[in-house]
Symmetry: C2
Subunit: 153 residues, 2 copies
DNA sequence: ATTACTGCAAAGGCTTTGCATTGTA
DNA sequence: TACAATGCAAAGCCTTTGCAGTAAT
């Protein structure tokens, strides 16, 4: 999907930022992913294709992309402190992290949006961004535990 | 509410941990709060009553309390990396942080619980803990912006 | 030719840890 | 008396930043 990359690069240019090989590479790395990655993962993928790229550049580029709205960044369990990034195309995603196998179960935004709407109506607030992180058991582990007679709460 | 503190100390004892002046002080500090505080805030409050307590002890105590389920710890916007703690009595709380005035609007768990239930039903997962953080505008700022003709999205 | 961007290495924040000492049980 | 807990200072981890050199427009 080079389309998204082109759009991203156009935006960079419009805003007076330069299109560098490093930024292009990072956009390609991000575009090849379907879910969120943390900075180290992104750095590793980029470094595999250009071993001169520095971690500082990755941080700077991701922060820039986030400011421009090019990436969706959020925090996931269990390592809540580390931000994860994903190219901002398509609907928002949230995650449930399985404590048994580590799988991240993707959760579309529609459920959360309903909650947000109710929040807005009942509390009189307005919401610009929402982050929901869940810890629990993925469907497979939930099933496995049920059969083992140790159903999770 | 010394009741909660007594229960907490009993649990410590049951599990083979010792009741030290520092831990008691921290429990009292936490019990006096109605919403989540970060480590520095807790340290400051404790230090005001015992200026020999160290930050390391605060970290160790809070981590222990969290393991024992004595405190509810979560992450809030905008400083997502910093954990905040609160004595675990009463229902879970989530927060919306106002980007205009910094207020934290408290959100009871019931709305989120409904979402969690639907998640469980639709996805076949099980959920052990949930964290929802919102960024937006508090009711007062929402109203102020509406009147200024700049309604937030 | 400008001006932004990069890589490097150092510095910053927050949190954890090693160790000798203190104190609880 | 044992062994856990504390305070201190150092180390760890992730992220940001200053700077001199490099490259995009």
């Amino acid at each position: 999907m080079p389309h998204i990359i082109d759009e991203a690069e156009s935006l960079l240019q419009e805003r007076g930022f330069k299109i560098t090989p490093q930024r292009s590479l990072l956009l390609r790395v991000l575009a090849a992913q379907s879910s969120h990655l943390d900075v180290d993962e992104i750095y590793a993928l980029a470094h595999a294709q250009d071993d001169s790229i520095s971690l500082a550049t990755v941080y700077r580029a991701l922060n820039l992309f986030a400011e421009l709205g090019l990436v969706d960044h959020r925090y996931v369990e269990p390592d809540h402190r580390r931000e994860v990034f994903r190219l901002a195309d398509g609907p928002e995603q949230h995650y449930l992290t399985c404590v048994r196998c580590g799988t991240r179960v993707l959760i579309r935004a529609d459920l959360l949006n309903r909650m947000v709407n109710e929040l807005v109506r009942r509390k009189g607030v307005s919401v610009t961004s929402a982050c929901a992180c869940f810890t629990g058991y993925c469907p497979a582990c939930t099933e496995a535990l049920r059969q083992a007679g140790t159903p999770p709460e």
